[in-house]
């Protein structure tokens, strides 16, 4: 919560300290000085900065983020309209990254310096280094055009989500794979693992059930941080795959200097990010019974 407050102050200051008077921008070139003064008064731009911030905060708490300069529609509405595709994309990417990352990391750790290990480590290196723009176009050419497995400028169904989600999740998957492997390698030699084996617990799978739960704690933390990176990476992926989402909208808002929209998106993104990290904290409780929160 305090984080969000700080963000709101920064966001508010950002638009008021940059050059350009919002009232003049909104009314355009032919406005008379009297008109501009009147609009400034209406928008409260002639009040002291602290008062303006107070009104802004009050508006935000009510859900009013102002109106877009470009379209005239309420910012909250514009953001809400475009959030679902970005959310779909980010969740999809997160799911792919988590599942494939953990699986590959586990395989690598189990392999332990074997072929599996080397393959996973080198693939993940490529995944971290490959620019998402290039990966996206590569996937379009291969799976969209040559194999025709997935649509390219697709529509609403899940198949249109696959290529963009894989592109976006690739880097995160690589990071998660490496971290899982390292964490597992730490955990596997421990006492409780040997105990479980000695007890005769059958499948290696069950072992992984026990060892992995422990090993995943740092991985889950990173996943939460990765979520922020995914939200940012969505901008490029949305442009390449022609998806209408918050990322592309943010870029368009910056290009058109639409301050209310830019402020709104930054605040919104900060709120989402804070929420995700809160969920990560909650997830700890499920993973490690030793962790409790004193309230």
């Amino acid at each position: 919560m305090p984080v969000l407050l700080v963000v709101s102050v920064l966001v508010f200051l950002m638009s008021h300290l940059t050059p350009g008077d919002p009232a003049t921008i909104m009314l355009g070139e032919n406005a008379s000085a009297a008109d501009v003064a009147r609009l400034r008064h209406e928008l409260g731009l002639d009040r002291p900065l602290a008062v303006q911030y107070g009104r802004y905060l009050a508006g935000v708490l009510r859900g009013d983020l102002g109106r877009s300069i470009r379209s005239g529609r309420p910012v909250a509405l514009e953001i809400w309209d475009r959030f679902p595709p970005t959310l779909q994309l980010t969740l999809g990417a997160m799911a792919i990254a988590a599942a494939s990352g953990v699986l590959l990391g586990a395989l690598a750790a189990a392999g332990r310096s074997g072929a599996a290990d080397t393959i996973v480590m080198s693939t993940s290196l490529v995944g971290i280094s490959m620019p998402s723009f290039w990966l996206g176009l590569l996937l379009i050419l291969l799976f969209g055009l040559m194999l025709r497995w997935f649509p390219i400028a697709g529509g609403d169904d899940w198949r249109a989500l696959v290529l963009p989600a894989v592109t976006l999740g690739a880097q995160a998957a690589a990071v998660i794979a490496r971290l899982t492997r390292a964490s597992l390698l730490d955990v596997l030699p421990s006492e409780f693992v040997r105990t479980a084996r000695a007890k005769g617990l059958a499948a290696v799978r069950v072992l992984f059930r026990h060892a992995l739960r422990n090993a995943l704690i740092p991985v889950v933390t990173v996943m939460g941080l990765q979520f922020g990176a995914l939200l940012g990476g969505a901008v490029i992926v949305e442009s390449v795959f022609a998806r209408s989402g918050l990322g592309r909208f943010a870029v368009a808002a910056v290009q058109s200097r639409d301050f209310p929209v830019i402020q709104g998106i930054v605040l919104f993104a900060a709120a989402v990010y804070a929420l995700v990290n809160l969920s990560v904290d909650v997830a700890y409780l499920a993973l490690d019974p030793r962790i409790t929160y004193d309230r």
Binding site: F241, S244, Q255
Partner: protein
């Protein structure tokens, strides 16, 4: 008896023939055709838009009073017939009977009058539609189907402009009740209706089954294709991939992919020289450093246009030398020799004559201030690449150019205000009267005179060109105009591209119209 029999047979044959035609027409109905666009419209209110893509969409959504046929003759559109008084001041139109707006409201002369008045009204702040109407001073509905326009002076471009989709009549009452929402869902009279607009993604147009008042070159009746979708895809590689996979149906080909797609022989590919100068560098003459005409002239000799055509357009275009391209009537071929060409020696000499000498780091300077400026451009691929090449080009002369990109709507606003020192622009238009739009002093600040150049002599020339209804005289005035604009070095014209439009093979009867678009009024799909 025999006569009756013959009559019966004739009637039967006629009925069968008519029935076959109707059946053939009916069975053509259906399908969706997806057109790719890089840019999204600013608004779909035809009177308020300044964007070319909005005008393109309105080719489908509106039906203006007049139309142009495939030989560039003016033919009936919504107006069945018209007369022009001998002094050119009174234009009378007879509207077709039975035409209705998309919401079913009948199109009377009163309704068209209200629409035209809205376009002219200062509150509407129309960037293009108002200029196209020019000196129209009064609009009258003589009776329910007769409309009269009275002009304050003769206006040669009007006959052409009345066929522009932006002057399609709109339902003013619907506009008033919808407020700003009208720009998202306009109500006009064309063969298609705007069904939905998902921001950043697509605009869907649905067939208007009531449409029967099309131009004579279109079959009588509504269009065949059920839905037309404009899909916004910003990345050109993605556009081409989507086209080749069959997901989109019609694409403006990036120069890079033209040869490859032609070689596949799978697609119909139309080519035409763009009707407009594709890219030009425009100086703001009210700001340093380009308030100095000597400097502007030097720039005209310093920039190598052939390289731009070769690299940015991959050879698929021509260098531009004046404000009009060869594809617009009124173009003077002599401009190629008259205008400056790339001449490094002459450029250096002119920079020196303007008082600029090389400074310690090689940058030209005058009175201790370096020759540096910022160029504004949109982020479109061709614009950015052209800018980068020009930047490198100018660096060789000691001129420092910085590049700043703004989204299209924002850049229009900044240019109007005169924020910029120089900017890139391009245009598509039908008429040499585009010179009024770019150069007349009336268009500074609210219109598109982004060079902010006010010159009574130029205004007078433009005025004379707009009045001249005799074509030979008009053409002669435009020769003078092109020379004058080049003399004043308000622009450095850069290039005009060939437009290549590729269509999927499952469309029949799509035709390329001389106005530079694909006419789909008679087109139907073989795969639905």
């Amino acid at each position: 008896m025999r006569r009756n029999f013959a009559l019966c047979i004739t009637l039967l044959v006629a009925a069968a023939g008519w029935g076959t035609v109707l059946y053939a027409q009916e069975s053509r109905v259906g399908g969706t055709w997806t057109i790719v666009s890089t840019e999204e419209p600013d608004t779909l209110d035809p009177q308020k838009t300044g964007a070319a893509v909005a005008a393109a969409i309105f080719q489908f959504v509106g039906e203006p009073l007049l139309a142009h046929d495939f030989s560039n003759r003016v033919v009936p559109g919504l107006a069945d017939s018209w007369t022009i008084s001998s002094d050119g001041l009174v234009w009378t139109f007879k509207l077709k009977a039975g035409a209705v707006f998309h919401n079913g409201t009948p199109i009377t002369a009163q309704a068209v009058k209200a629409s035209i008045e809205r376009a002219i009204a200062p509150e509407t702040k129309s960037p293009v539609a108002k200029a196209q109407l020019g000196p129209v001073k009064a609009v009258d509905a003589v009776d329910a189907r007769t409309l009269r326009l009275t002009l304050s002076e003769p206006f040669a471009p009007l006959i052409n402009n009345l066929g522009d989709p932006r002057l399609s009549p709109i339902d003013v009452r619907a506009a008033e009740s919808a407020g700003s929402g009208f720009g998202r869902a306009p109500v006009s009279d064309g063969p298609y209706v705007v069904k939905e607009w998902v921001s950043g993604h697509h605009v869907t147009l649905a067939r208007n089954p009531a449409f029967t008042w099309g131009p004579p070159y279109m079959h009588h009746g509504p269009a065949y294709i059920d839905q037309i979708i404009y899909r916004f895809i910003p990345d050109s590689a993605t556009q081409v991939a989507a086209f080749e996979s069959g997901e989109v149906s019609q694409l403006g080909l990036p120069p890079h992919d033209v040869a490859r797609l032609q070689a596949t022989k799978k697609y119909q590919i139309f080519r035409f020289l763009r009707k407009g100068v594709g890219e030009f560098l425009e100086f703001n003459v009210t700001k340093e450093p380009f308030s100095d005409i000597r400097l502007r002239r030097a720039m005209n000799y310093a920039i190598n246009k052939d390289v731009l055509v070769k690299v940015v357009l991959e050879g698929l275009g021509e260098p531009a030398y004046g404000p009009l391209p060869p594809s617009i009537w009124g173009y003077w071929p002599g401009i190629v020799d008259y205008a400056p060409h790339y001449d490094p020696a002459k450029a250096k000499q002119l920079f020196a004559e303007a008082g600029f000498t090389p400074g310690p780091d090689g940058t030209l300077q005058k009175a201790g201030r370096p020759l540096a400026f910022t160029l504004y451009t949109t982020p479109a691929d061709t614009g950015v690449r052209t800018a980068q090449l020009v930047q490198a080009n100018l660096r060789g002369f000691g001129v420092r150019m910085d590049i700043q990109t703004y989204e299209f709507g924002t850049i229009l606003e900044k240019f109007k205000k005169g924020d910029q020192q120089a900017g890139f622009m391009g245009y598509t238009y039908n008429e040499p009267d585009i010179m009024y739009i770019w150069f007349d002093s009336a268009n500074i600040g609210s219109g598109l005179n982004f060079s902010h150049y006010a010159d009574p002599k130029l205004d007078a020339l433009i005025d004379a060109a707009r009045h001249a209804t005799n074509l030979t005289k008009r053409a002669a005035i435009y020769v003078d105009l092109q020379k004058y604009v080049v003399d004043k070095a308000l622009w450095v014209p850069l290039w005009t591209n060939y437009n290549y439009i590729a269509l999927q093979p499952w469309i029949k009867d799509a035709k390329i119209h001389p106005d530079g678009y694909v006419f789909l009024g008679d087109a139907y799909l073989t795969k639905r």
